[in-house]
Symmetry: C2
Subunit: 710 residues, 2 copies
């Protein structure tokens, strides 16, 4: 396969070069810069250009995504519902071999080994596997995105030549042995040790207690014949922190090598096509060379050295090379939400129930306000995530290609990943659940796909970093950035800031500003709405909330650093919930900004108009969700707050006729959806039933209702 | 089994006679009325009397529940994870036979047939089956709670004698054939017809189109050899609406009888121990006597008669006899939430992760504020539901025993069911999901039970009445009650009311009252908190919101009745979302009132103190959830609104030491939980790990961290 994706350089998050955006083909405009948004007025009854919007949603790596979707449309790569765990595991292993044969999974690897060194495109293709079977996606991710990527990014030339060929060809299925039963999110505290033995020039890998068993590892229960094992590296009595080693696990017959044992994790809530399991090591010896030593080496005599002096920075740098897991979960979760909404909105557009408005015809589900409220805001969020994910992937590609790979770039990428992955994985679960309920009993049947996807996606909320832990990381970064503003300032500047803060709090917090707004608001709901739909108003509301929350927390924690460790931790803990909410607000703002930038790239006036409503629904939906905060802090008057909800109701009415177009633009075919209720079967049933009654009425054979008779 | 539950008469919802409350045994107080709550001051460091609280939580039918739990503790009735659908279905069928042998499922049936005519006790025992296997609960419910209950409540003496013995003994497994592919919540619109043929004195049952296939029916795919079929009853060319008929389905070899066909619904998102399927009928004839004719009869010559003149009222009366499904789902969902919280809180009390406060010891998860925020409010809601469910079951028992069985009683029961079932089934799903995430990867393993329960409980949100549809029913009832206040009033009264409403809205809506509060609030956060913990303040806040929302909607819909049907429907639809939110607020208020009454019955001072905090957490949690409403409508000033969150944070700190006691009081044993992470295994792992490091530190053999060395 040839890489046909546009290659671009991008320096900062969110600034997407216009040339990378696939646009609606316009005669004479091929290859030319995208024209500025048309100044022509948007039509009163806008129409969505579904094909052009679809191209835009596919994003930077559109062609790679289309090729991956073409692959995912083939039954041989798809899940068969109802297989036993054993059957499903074997099937997915076989599917991995198919991916190798199709050359579908080597895009990120070195050119010298047959790869393309195309990191962004690799992730784009990988994400699309979720629509074939999430087990296939994640087992591929274990093999090439974790096990293989650890060798690629943590190893050196020797390791790449020695180990990558077998990994790439799947001759060596392997596990990524980081998590332990006792330590998941806190990787730095794992218990497994790798102690250097100078006498034999080997590392001795050992599991000191039950909690230090490696756990939840794909490929560990059955298929893995090697692993990258993370352990505390001990040399000359000093613990140099967590490092990774390449460790053979099983012999040619599939039996554990001496000193190695394990267990099958057994049945899970989903992803049962993956053989997750546990491993433990009893003084297992590997050659010194098996240390993946890009960030830390041990000489023959046991002397440790590292290009990164600080153990803490070294640890985060090593973990940071594995950020692609979070990147890809953000994309896959967004795809799953898009699939769920395509199914639920298609069905909701055909299914009828209750006849409130007519004596003969029942209402289409999506005409009910409640049904719109349940599905359309989730559609808006899915759009926001789609735009945000493409920018995220561009940032990832810039860092991993080396085009923009400073420490700051890597830290920004980590923070974006930690902000977006939690929001999108939670959103996928909520959307799949709402889609399940919105399609009733039909949604509960495996044949309609939603429940299986939800079961598989469940774990996305806690693996590759627990969502709450990730958001806390984001919050800490925001707090650090905030305090950096004062790092170079003298004590006087800080004092002045504190005074200003206090004044601002008094102004916002006790009703003075709110009071002014209340008076100004009298009789002007129309002006409220007009302001709320303004892009800058939305930006200001969303940005202000993040900044104020962080500033408030920073003010509360200002003196905590001087406290004894336990007291400082307690002070931090008393703000933990709000910290995490601030991080969520930051992630929401990132999504909103990306949606807004996406909107600026939309050229077709009708599409742009509808997308503007959808972006407003997203932005005002966020404001509505946090309405109490805006009221308490005097950012919205009660009247303006009511206008938020009223305007959302109006947006739902406006968007409703375009709902089908907006899900169709995701571009999933029946082969991707594989959902009977989204196949048109419901429309056929409705048409048949209505024709039956119409014919009976026409023929005068419909039995008269008892109450009519009376 | 002998019915040992206290029998009581109760007239109105929520007024539970004191004598029915199992209390902590106090010497000398046995059989005496429960003493008034102790006037002794509650201790500063209260302790929970877990045994006494446990008895109180078991509620009115405590002994029956304990016996049912004893039964559910036996492996033969429990789910085996990982069985195929076919194996699981057969196992559950076998378990139903065990229940028959144990005499565990006949409590509600007539004494003359071996039952006890004990409706409340029957449901109490039935609900507890959920902890053995939700498939067992629901398949039992299909057989005896739907199929059997339809014969019992919709049939007459003939049907009870002819059909109940076979149903009770499971000689005749049967389906409850109400729902169709095309009509779920809107039962009145089903398409299946039962046309009376005077010539043969038979009913001809027919499925006119694909959408009228019966669907999602337990026992239909495999085991059912008969069904109660709901169909439009047509006699002499008149449609008398939906009635039920007893229809044989399969012959002795399990083959469909002539004219009957069907399909297997196949794999589902959960409850795969039940053989749900589809049925269709092509001119299937059953004798005239097979019409379950308690509410509608057809004479030999085809003359229809009914004791209920209005077809609408007749329909709702017939459906109302089947309310027990909703009753039992409310109880079972609450039990599932309690199991989930017992697992997650037990684990959260043992599991450690990250060491912010100490150099050596990691923090227990439940000491993190965020972890408390995730789990303890859900514990409060589960308590509220437990108390509300017992009152609900008392109401049900009063109606079905005939002790308090007026039309009003039945309507009240319907409304309570429609309010509580949605809230508790959604709560179960949210709680199971939070428990899953709070236990991380371990929570995703089937061996820890949470994921299986969540998969099974998923459908509880839409079967026996879609939750959104049920809440809309509640809202319509509230609107009707509201308009009844003016039914007898003259036009002048209505006008005066409207004026008063408008004045009140002006007062609340534009900030005048809020303004007053803001000024009064200055510098008085302590007084705000003191008011918020007051029972009457909480009641007023919660009640006021329901009333105001309904009044506001009623005002907006006041003129809608005069509009043409389609316009009236559109006006209603524009308020649908808020209507459903008003109904939710009503259900929450019911739960809060029940919790408050339960609290009044708690005699131990320490337990009472802790439960008061938990009730406050529930009540203020509701206020916090709807904080924007209270701010917009001037019910809370910004300062008081902030006090709500601040006080919730304080309540979480206070409740945290009692969290284990509060889940232990649910009374589930390891045989009920069957969750490895709640077995104490995590504590053992933590103890082992800490002992290992302590020993190394003591011996001086712990490798020195690199950063310490520097």
């Amino acid at each position: 396969m040839v890489d046909t994706a546009p290659r671009t350089t991008t320096k900062t998050w969110g600034q997407r070069p216009a040339a990378t955006v696939p646009a609606k083909p316009v005669p004479g405009a091929v290859g030319a810069p995208i024209p500025a948004p048309s100044a022509a007025p948007a039509p009163e009854s806008p129409e969505v250009d579904v094909a052009a919007l679809g191209r835009q949603l596919l994003g930077t790596w559109a062609d790679i995504r289309l090729a991956a979707r073409e692959r995912a449309a083939h039954p041989e790569l798809q899940r068969i519902e109802g297989q036993t765990m054993a059957e499903h595991r074997e099937r997915v292993l076989g599917q991995l071999k198919i991916l190798v044969e199709q050359g579908a999974v080597h895009r990120a690897f070195p050119k010298e080994l047959g790869g393309l060194e195309d990191h962004g495109g690799n992730i784009a293709a990988f994400e699309e596997l979720v629509i074939a079977d999430p087990s296939l996606q994640i087992k591929s991710g274990v093999q090439w995105g974790l096990f293989g990527a650890a060798v690629l990014h943590l190893g050196t030339e020797y390791h790449r030549r020695a180990f990558l060929p077998g990994i790439m060809s799947l001759d060596v299925p392997g596990a990524f042995a980081m998590t332990e039963t006792g330590h998941g999110s806190d990787v730095a505290a794992i218990g497994t040790t790798a102690t250097y033995d100078e006498a034999t020039q080997e590392f001795v890998i050992n599991t000191p207690f039950r909690g230090a068993w490696k756990d939840y590892l794909g490929n560990a229960a059955l298929h893995g014949i090697a692993a990258v094992v993370f352990a505390q590296l001990i040399a000359k009595g000093v613990n140099h922190g967590v490092h990774a080693l390449y460790v053979p696990l099983r012999d040619a017959d599939g039996a554990f090598l001496p000193g190695i044992g394990g267990e099958d994790d057994g049945l899970k809530g989903g992803l049962n096509g993956i053989d997750n399991g546990r491993l433990h090591f009893t003084n297992v010896r590997v050659p010194r060379e098996n240390l993946l030593n890009r960030y830390g080496s041990v000489t023959e005599d046991g002397t440790y050295s590292s290009p990164i002096a600080s153990p803490g920075r070294r640890f985060f740098t090593m973990l940071g090379t594995l950020v692609q897991g979070r990147v890809s979960l953000d994309g896959a979760a967004t795809s799953a939400a898009a699939v769920a909404l395509t199914i639920a909105i298609t069905y909701g557009n055909q299914r009828r129930q209750f006849n409130a408005a007519s004596d003969t015809d029942e209402e289409v589900l999506l005409d009910y306000q409640r049904h719109q409220r349940r599905l359309l805001p989730k559609l808006a969020t899915t759009y926001a995530q789609t735009f945000a994910h493409d920018e995220f992937l561009l940032k990832f590609d810039a860092v991993f290609s080396g085009r923009a790979d400073t420490d700051d770039d890597r830290q920004d990428l980590e923070t974006i990943a930690a902000a977006l992955k939690p929001l999108s994985t939670w959103h996928a679960l909520e959307t799949l659940q709402e889609a399940r309920e919105a399609t009733g009993g039909a949604g509960f049947l495996a044949e309609n796909r939603i429940v299986g996807l939800r079961q598989d996606l469940d774990i996305y909320a806690t693996f590759e970093g627990d969502n709450n832990v990730l958001l806390q990381l984001v919050a800490k970064r925001l707090l650090t950035d905030y305090s950096k503003q004062f790092a170079k300032a003298d004590a006087g500047a800080m004092a002045r800031y504190v005074v200003a803060q206090t004044a601002e709090r008094a102004y916002h917090g006790t009703g003075l500003r709110r009071l002014g707004q209340t008076i100004a608001d009298f009789g002007s709901t129309a002006r409220s709405v007009s302001e709320l739909r303004d892009t800058n108003t939305q930006r200001e509301l969303l940005t202000d909330r993040v900044e104020t929350m962080i500033a408030d927390i920073a003010a509360r924690l200002r003196d905590a650093r001087k406290l004894p460790k336990a007291d400082a931790a307690a002070a931090f803990n008393r703000n933990q919930n709000e910290l995490i909410e601030a991080a969520r607000a930051h992630g929401e703002l990132l999504q909103w900004e990306a949606f807004t930038r996406g909107l600026e790239q939309t050229t077709d006036p009708g599409t742009r108009r509808v997308l503007t409503w959808l972006r407003d629904l997203f932005g005002l939906g966020l404001v509505e969700k946090h309405l109490a905060w805006y009221l308490i802090h005097g950012r919205l008057s009660p009247q303006r707050a009511q206008a938020v909800t009223a305007y959302i109701d109006r947006l739902l009415e406006r968007l409703r006729p375009h709902a089908q177009d907006l899900v169709d633009a995701f571009g999933y075919t029946p082969e991707h959806l594989r959902s009977k209720i989204a196949s048109g079967a419901e429309q056929e049933r409705q048409d048949e039933a209505r024709a039956y009654y119409a014919a009976q009425r026409a023929a005068g054979t419909l039995p008269m209702p008892e109450k009519t008779k009376k």
